[in-house]
Amino acid sequence: MPKHILEMRKITKVFPGVKALSDVELSVIDGEIHGICGENGAGKSTLMKVLSGVYPYGTYEGDIVFDGEVQKFHSIPDSEHQGIVIIHQELALIPYLSVAENIFLGNERRGSNGMIDWNETNHQAMKLLEQVGLHENPTTPVMQLGVGKQQLIEIAKALSKDVRLLILDEPTSALNDDDSEHLLQLLRTLKEEQGITSIMISHKLNEIAEVCDRTTIIRDGHTIETIDIDESPGIQDRIIRGMVGRDLTNRYPKREHVVGDEVLRVENWTVHHPTQPGRIVVDDASFTVRKGEVVGIAGVMGAGRTELAMSLFGRSYGRDISGHMYMHGEEIHARDVSEAIKHGLAYATEDRKRYGLNLIDDVRRNISAAALFKLAKRGWVNGNKEIKVAEEYRGSMNIKTPSVLQTVGNLSGGNQQKVVLSKWIYSDAEVLILDEPTRGIDVGAKYEIYTIINRLVAAGKSVIIISSELPELLGTCDRIYTLAFGVVTGEVPVAEATQEKLMTLMTQEKATKDKEVRA
């Protein structure tokens, strides 16, 4: 019988009107990496908040047994005191403070006189950075580092608190493949060398399969099962079955490919960085999109994918933009977003919370936000028609909300994304650029998003998908362009594309490009 470091017994958490968790069981063996899988809204994050003391003892039912003792956490410091540290999906670092200051924030290393001992702080920070394999000066401001490195700093911060159980909520969702691999390797190292137990929430099932010893599946607030991860090929499918409660024999819905005439053509598109003069972010990019076609843009993070899309969409990114854009063979000039929308372009951002939605407003007004002119006569909005439109989209897009007057911030990620898509579909766009359309949303909702994309192209629209998940591009696109360091390095019809081939093109560096200017 292996020793359990953590047992959560019959955890039930009720919010007004909703039972978020009911009798959830979770037991974690000392020294393992334990995965938690479940659709968005299944209750994973709620469970972790119960564990870490965000929801204090008394607001839930059931027992938390840590290290053989029933724990009554009243706050986050209580759980941290026991060595339980949670790293949230949205990183909680302060950009203007240095690496060392962030690591010891709230836990400052003081000298005998009560003042902060900077030498000691930086020295210890250095040692912690070494443990996580990060070679940075501890006095560097955090904002100068990429997301991958910031994630490592979060782990260093956890280590500084003598962590015994590390909880990571979607640790790799914002990382590229290299950084993800590094992070997962680090978890293994921490486990083997320091015996640190980890709980990892992830939507990336291949990561769960790769790094976890066991995984617990949660669905609709119930524990479905805990399974041992082995090498068997069917393991991912088994997890998916548990998560969605049905077989997803195909993760990508089938689609008839009926491709028509050219709709959008971009030629020699060059974009400079908005604040760093001389830095070219998109370099001489050219591509075409045809009617009824799904075109993929593959590239690692920082390749200029989002920058390309946003600069096309009414010059909302970059400066000194040059190049030509044609719709149906005629050159168009989209100098701002409203002109881009009028020309039939739409751009659904990769960061829907920051750039896509007004989270404090309701579903209805978010759906109409980009096309209020359709609801308005001489500047006056028809509020009743607006609600009717929103209701239509709630039905047709299967947005799960009790009412279209519900605040968008209260919806799950998948449903928020459906609101974003509704907004752009309602704007009557001909070409929809979807930037990471399935980031941070669960398998079931992903399938729905793919179905929506198929419905769009079947109706004669064109879709550009920007994604760092190659299987997703291979599963949904007709043609894929690869982007590397701001340069279009290849164009591959999906029939000829393989992950290896795309990856080669995505990492190819054009000889002329100056390496120094890209961080």
């Binding site: 951002t349 939605l357 007004n358 989270l359 500047g379 509020g383 028609k385």
Partner: protein
């Protein structure tokens, strides 16, 4: 989705918005008792409207500025400057009253455009732009007035804010005309509520139960007619109340029903998302500041008319009262939330408190302390509510 909402739902659904009305009624009741009913006497009700009208006018513009995520600290100085411009033309140069009015409005447009330019197109935070404006326009006021007060205005100008519409239909001891105007307004309100209800039903949206709907109309009618009765028993219908009513109705419609109004909310709610949805953020910000300038000049006209002159120190601290009215009225410090009616009620709460305390003979210093605490508590209540809503 058809169905009817019951009373409890109506109250709890928007505690945040309905809370303020409850507080308003409570404060009125409190001061009515403390002042032995003087607060609600005909003369005092009229006086209350006249005395705080310019703050309410400022609050209408300010709430839009705050919804858009800005602030305007300059309105007090703008009130002074526009009043001064008007006074110089009408009193010193002897021009007719309407020239003064137009010049003041024109000054307001220029000031609004000036501040809008810096905020929207140059990107200076409104806090800084209007802090500069506060000094700038106060300085210009001193300059225009050569550092001395000007008075009195001719009676035609005084009537703008000090005049009444009464006696038109005569009346035995009370003004029939006032009652008729209010009765028409009540009927108009009932009719438009009825039409809204009908069209909501046509679009298959939930409406409140029919008896409740009638109850609400009757309650509104009773309160409004009582108010009219008080006015009719005093001096009749104040001109400034007509100005105020027109502004409140117009701006309620602008904020809730127009594309412009919706864009203001969108910008305050999430600037980046609004920009990426095709909202012309700069022009909307410019419009909001321009509008504030115009409303500040209206307030300047009303204030100069009521005080019968222009003083170098006019409008001092008005900005703070207007801002306080918005926040008491439920506007969010972070932008994106707020209502014109809320700001008006917030302003009226301040007005009733000041007026009530004055009637009781409370010391100025104590008045300031109480008003400060009320502002703090109102925002604390708002923050508490939001935290409770966000706890999920």
């Amino acid at each position: 989705m058809t169905g009817t909402a019951n009373i409890r739902e109506l109250l709890t659904r928007n505690l945040r918005t309905s809370g303020i009305y409850i507080a308003f009624v409570a404060i009125i009741a409190l001061f009515a008792i403390l002042t032995d009913g003087t607060l609600l006497s005909p003369g005092n009700v009229t006086n209350l409207i006249l005395q705080y009208s310019y703050i309410l006018i400022l609050a209408i513009g300010m709430v839009m500025v705050i919804i858009a995520g800005h602030i305007d600290l300059s309105v007090g100085s703008v009130v002074a400057l526009t009043g001064a411009v008007s006074a110089v033309l009408v009193i010193r140069e002897g021009m007719p009253w309407w020239v003064g009015v137009l010049a003041a409005l024109g000054t307001g447009v220029l000031i609004g455009a000036w501040q809008g330019f810096w905020v929207a197109f140059v990107g200076i935070p409104a806090f800084i732009t209007t802090l500069a404006g506060m000094l700038l326009f106060r300085g210009l006021t001193l300059l225009v007035l050569s550092n001395i007060s000007l008075s009195p205005f001719p009676s035609s100008y005084q009537k703008i804010a000090g005049g009444f519409q009464n006696g038109i239909l005569g009346g035995p001891g009370y003004d029939v005309f006032t009652l008729v105007v209010f009765a028409v307004a009540v009927v108009g309100f009932a009719f438009s509520a009825w039409r809204t209800r009908r069209s909501r039903i046509a679009y298959e949206q939930p409406v409140e139960a029919f008896p409740l709907f009638i109850l609400k109309l009757v309650a509104v009618a009773l309160v409004v007619m009582w108010f009219a009765w008080q006015l009719a028993n005093a001096r009749g219908l104040p001109n400034v109340l007509i100005i105020l009513a027109v502004l409140v109705i117009a701006y309620t419609l602008v904020t809730t029903r127009t594309v412009f109004g919706r864009h203001v909310y969108a910008i305050g709610g999430n600037l980046a998302a609004a920009m990426l949805s095709g909202v012309k953020v700069r022009w909307v910000n410019f419009g909001v500041m321009l509008n504030m300038g115009v409303l500040a000049s209206v307030a300047g006209i009303v204030y100069s008319s009521r005080s019968n002159g222009a003083q170098p120190a006019a409008g001092n601290m008005f900005e703070l009262d207007a801002i306080a009215a918005c926040f008491i009225g439920g506007a969010a410090v972070t932008g994106g939330v707020g209502r014109v009616t809320g700001a008006i009620v917030g302003g009226l709460i301040m007005a009733v408190m000041s007026n009530g305390m004055q009637l009781m003979g409370v010391d100025q210093s104590v008045q300031a302390v109480v008003k400060g605490l009320v502002l703090l508590l109102a925002v604390a209540f708002d923050v508490y509510n939001k935290r409770r809503a966000g706890a999920r």
